[in-house]
């Protein structure tokens, strides 16, 4: 089942204005750089983007924000992006901020056919407004609904032609569960390999969740906070 497409342009075919997209990554770590560039290129707008963060002003989803392609963001933390904050506070941008664990679990649920589940996160806060509350084991919980997307766009380290994916380090983050929750899931990888080259015992995302895959190019992999210590001599 060969799912290889030529490049980001081919991978993003069918993405239209007004659609809901999920994009993997935590900050700038593990984001689908090639597809984001293609979305800018393609100039689709009115997008609803589900992504833990919104990039920084000049990289990641910040590139789409600069061009006002995003109508609504569903995220947990957006503190690294001034343009985001400006658009949100001015009301240009709709924002649904949700707890990070609920975001992860809601994407997982969307991919796993679980329409809703109870979680303690957010009870008694703005997040709980309008949501069903139920007590379990003496503790209040909110009913949270699954999230799905027209397209999920993820970035992996290696992938094979069947769509099996392997991530590297903390670039894994939201990618695996978003891969599960897309009606169509696009995976861009640093290295595309033949089926059988990845150990079947150590696949992070089974190919069944991926519909299109391609080897991306020119990964910048920008570091947001370069923190180092000096070698003692």
């Amino acid at each position: 089942m060969n799912k290889v497409v030529k490049n980001a342009q081919a991978a993003c075919e069918g993405i239209e204005s007004g659609m809901t997209l999920m994009l993997g990554g935590f900050g700038l770590c593990g984001i689908p750089e090639n597809c984001i560039a293609e979305l800018v290129n393609k100039n689709v707008n009115n997008l609803t983007c589900i992504s833990n963060n919104a990039g920084v002003d000049d990289f990641g989803l910040g590139l789409l924000l600069q061009k006002k392609q995003i109508k609504k963001m569903i995220s947990s933390y957006v503190g690294e992006n001034d343009e985001f904050e400006r658009q949100m506070l001015s009301g240009e941008l709709e924002v649904d901020l949700i707890p990070q664990g609920s975001l992860a679990a809601r994407c997982y649920a969307g991919g796993a056919g679980i329409p809703a589940f109870f979680t303690p996160a957010g009870y008694g806060t703005e997040v709980g407004i309008g949501k069903e509350v139920r007590w379990f084991d003496g503790k209040p919980h909110l009913l949270e609904a699954a999230l799905t997307a027209d397209f999920a766009i993820v970035k992996a380290w290696k992938g094979d032609k069947f769509g099996n994916l392997v991530f590297k380090g903390t670039a894994r983050n939201f990618n695996p569960m978003m891969a599960m929750a897309g009606t169509i899931t696009i995976a861009e990888v640093e290295e595309l390999v033949e089926p059988g080259e990845l150990d079947p015992n150590f696949i992070h995302t089974p190919g069944v969740f991926v519909q299109r895959i391609f080897q991306g190019e020119k990964y910048e992999k920008r570091i947001e906070q370069r923190t180092v210590r000096q070698k003692e001599s």
């Binding site: 700038l28 770590c29 904050e85 990070q100 008694g124 806060t125 703005e126 992999k221 180092v228 070698k231």
Partner: protein, 217 residues
């Protein structure tokens, strides 16, 4: 008065061997530098690593290995990487023994606010709401008052809440306090600080019983 480093140092005294610990951004991150000799704890970062080590040596940094504050980090031997769903399964499922995080306000019932100033600042809650809703042991590390000198230990939080009735302990530049039935119980005060100083800086109900010892670091 304690410095931020000393706040971290004091909280580090609370660590127990065998604990898995999640440290928030800011002062909490500093705690990793002060783990007492002989205490064996493992640090979790909610973006997907258990066994977080110190910052990498200059030149060794890896864009694919960061903590929840987006800082480059290293992994200790025996570390383990996982996805965000698994990370919060650990947190929600109470497999993490201690969470330390910063706050803008804490109420004397243990409510906490740290993610939003309506109309002014909206960074988002990140993983904080999951952490405070699930952890049995939550310590807040913060300054006792804000930049305008107003108390951050309140009768009631004025900012949007992150969680309700969840904070167990607070360590500030002025004091160590437990949140108990009835208010903030003063356990220790910073060297050179009087009980009255703490009282003046605390808007919420402060409970003082007997002699209050100095914080030892």
């Amino acid at each position: 008065m304690l410095t931020k480093q000393q706040i971290a140092q004091r909280i580090a005294q609370e660590l127990e061997s065998g604990w898995y610990v999640n440290l928030g951004i800011g002062i909490p991150t500093l705690i990793a530098n002060y783990v007492p000799e002989g205490i064996d704890v493992t640090f979790q970062s909610e973006n997907g690593i258990l066994g977080m080590g110190p910052f990498p040596f200059d030149g060794d940094e890896d864009a694919d290995l960061i903590n929840a504050g987006k800082q480059t980090i290293t992994a200790m031997p025996g570390a383990c990487i996982f996805d965000s769903a698994t990370s919060f399964a650990m947190i929600r499922g109470k497999h993490i023994q201690l969470t330390v995080l910063g706050a803008m306000e804490v109420s004397d019932q243990g409510d906490i606010a740290n993610w939003k100033i309506p109309g002014k600042m909206v960074k988002g809650m990140g993983g904080a709401m999951d952490l405070v809703a699930s952890a049995d042991n939550i310590i807040v590390a913060m300054m006792h008052t804000n930049k305008r000198g107003k108390s951050k230990l309140l009768k009631q939080c004025s900012l949007p809440l992150t969680g309700v009735r969840c904070v167990k302990k607070i360590v500030t530049n002025l004091a160590v306090l437990d949140v108990v039935d009835g208010g903030f119980k003063l356990l220790e005060k910073a060297p050179g600080v009087t009980v009255e100083d703490v009282q003046n800086a605390t808007e919420g109900r402060l409970i003082v019983e007997g002699e209050v010892p100095d914080i030892k670091i």
